[in-house]
């Protein structure tokens, strides 16, 4: 199996789906000739022509709004918003329409579109290029919200997102784009949307995370083992909404302790819903309060001081030890 970066793996998913299904259309700013500012759509323009790989004018609401129309017609648009910090320009199209059209037409029309967008920090980028706001989308009924954590699952999730009959917001943690390679099979592989995965087995504490934070979380799990002899179980959510609570429920019922890790701001963030789910389903199994290791409730700092904002293995370790000590 070839070893690929996440960029290459996403590109593979797009290429194969476009090859198989002429309903799949890629559109967005600089996705064509330029191949996307992160090169995720590299080569697609050359292979599929400007008929199916559409460089649009600079207007996010139009990109999403047009995708809604295309999807309602029966196509499968995969639009790119150049950075997730500019997806809010299209937020009304997502909330008012993409999320509702199936409901509003009693199933007559649907919006099988994917909105791909690079998210989160860690690459020393400019302002508005480092946000993690998956909670906005997860709190919007009618949307699905997916975040891969590595090349292989990125590819397998994007395939499912493209085939999904409903609108999917597909966050791509840009710090993972070229951070490491994984073996990605040429043959089709798809992970169902709405299913989490066990990233590491353990019995002492449950660490729940996703996206860019999976690596420091797994690093913390190794350190816990190494330094403290603690076996942490690690759950990778992969889909934020609809949230699969089956794995982490089973895990927390086993370990009695949980730590949630995300880059998004803490307050009213994704972690809060996971805490609530555990509260509702596993309260009597809990031996200690659940901890959240998160970004802070401030603007992501300019990049020279961004590291202090991002949760890291050290902070996760520290919090997990407190949960274990409680």
């Amino acid at each position: 199996m070839p070893k690929m970066t996440m960029v290459q793996a996403l590109n593979l998913a797009l290429r194969q789906e476009m090859d198989k299904d002429d309903r799949v259309i890629v559109l967005g700013e600089d996705v064509g000739l330029d191949g996307g500012v992160f090169r995720v759509t590299d080569g697609l323009y050359q292979q599929f022509s400007d008929k199916r790989v559409v460089d649009t004018p600079l207007a996010e609401s139009a990109i999403v709004g047009m995708s809604i129309g295309m999807a309602a017609y029966g196509l499968r648009p995969v639009c790119e918003i150049q950075f997730s910090g500019f997806s809010y320009q299209a937020f009304h199209q997502l909330e008012n329409h993409a999320a509702r059209l199936r409901w509003r037409s009693r199933g007559r029309f649907s919006v099988p579109m994917v909105m791909r967008t690079p998210c989160s920090g860690g690459v020393r980028a400019l302002e508005h290029h480092s946000e993690s706001r998956e909670a906005y989308y997860a709190h919007t009924p009618g949307l699905k919200m997916v975040i891969p954590s590595g090349p292989r699952n990125a590819r397998a999730l994007l395939v499912s997102a493209i085939r999904d009959p409903d609108p999917v917001i597909f966050y791509e943690p840009k710090s993972l784009y070229r951070a490491f390679r994984e073996e990605v099979p040429e043959e089709e592989e798809a992970i169902p949307i709405g299913t989490s995965q066990l990233a590491r087995e353990g019995s002492d504490v449950t660490l729940i995370s996703y996206g860019s934070m999976m690596r420091p979380t797994l690093e913390a799990a190794s350190l816990l083992k190494e330094k403290d002899g603690i076996e942490a179980e690690v759950v990778d959510l992969l889909t934020i909404s609809p949230l699969d609570d089956s794995l982490f429920t089973a895990s927390v019922r086993k370990t009695g302790r949980a730590v949630i890790v995300h880059e998004a701001p803490r307050s009213f963030g994704p972690g809060a819903e996971i805490v609530s789910k555990i509260m509702e389903k596993s309260f009597y199994y809990l031996e200690a309060p659940i901890a959240r290791v998160t970004g802070f409730d401030v603007v992501v700092p300019l990049f020279n001081r961004e590291n202090a904002y991002l949760p890291n293995a050290d902070r996760i370790l520290r919090e997990t030890r407190q949960v274990l000590a409680a």
Binding site: V54, Y73, R104, R106, R108, F109, D166
Partner: protein
Amino acid sequence: MPRTRIEIPDEIEHFSILDQEGNLDSGLEPNIADETLLQLYHYMLLGRRFDERLLSLQRQGRVGTFAPISGQEASQLGTAAVLRPSDWLVPAFRETAAELWRGRTMESVMLYFNGYSEGVEIPDERNDFPISVPVGSQILHAVGIAWASQYRGKDDVAMAFFGDGATSQGDFHEGLNFAGVFRIPVIFVCQNNQWAISLPRKKQTRSETLAQKAIAYGIKGIQVDGNDVLAVYAAASEAAQRARAGDGATFIECVTYRLSVHTTADDPKRYRTDEEVELWQQRDPIKRFQKYLVTKGLLSEEKVAAAETAVKEEIQAAVDRAEEQMKNPGDPLYMFEHAYAQMPPHLVEQKEYLARALSSQKKG
């Protein structure tokens, strides 16, 4: 070269065929079959009378908040009439007459404005979008639909409706620009009814006409007398031809007037004068068209009376059917359907929870 005037290549035209008295500029009379003319008349009348009936039902508490269309029948029907069944209509929220023309039933309209989700059902054979309340947002959907039609090699067009107020929205701008860049077969129908709730057209934008906004996008712009159904029809036909021929989008400004309230929650006395309304009542699109049809020998006093009766009966039958249907309160658990193609586990849980809650409530 140093200080020169830039020539604007696409000229903006104004178009009218029938004057206020229903007199014809015969050189411009479009070639419309008699049958179509009478159908147009029927739907204009139906649109007006149904509107009046809805208003009276609303005042009796038998219909919820809705947006009347009186005065705008020519703008809606002259445009919608050029569409083929396979074309796509993308309405705002004040296009009841156009929707009826396309085959939406009056029951559906009543159910919708009474808050029944059955009112958003759209039969498979009709390519029409549901009403869009967020002003201007639907313009982009029409652009996407028309793009897809072109991609599929079809010559079906999409027609988007919106008001004068909608031209201030970013989505209007982005939609017309995309349509220009990609030469999309879409027809933008702006019903300039002079008011966006309480804001008069002059305060909506400083541009002299709305039609001239087309210049910003390199697409064809035309202003028509929106109370002149022949002019509207002619402009829309040209636009449809242009679109089907691959020559791109058209922006049609229909100059018309909202004779009634903005919605039934609105009190226009706060912001406009009776004189203004009376002035526009004299420009009534139905009266004018009626006169033309009489002159043409297609209508007579008796035929008009017969049409009125027929329309009245049609409406009464629909109201009866709708009110019958609304006796069925429906299942509140239906709200969980059509959220997604497949109900995700958390919605299954919520649905079960609500079922339990409702049954315990019933028990007391």
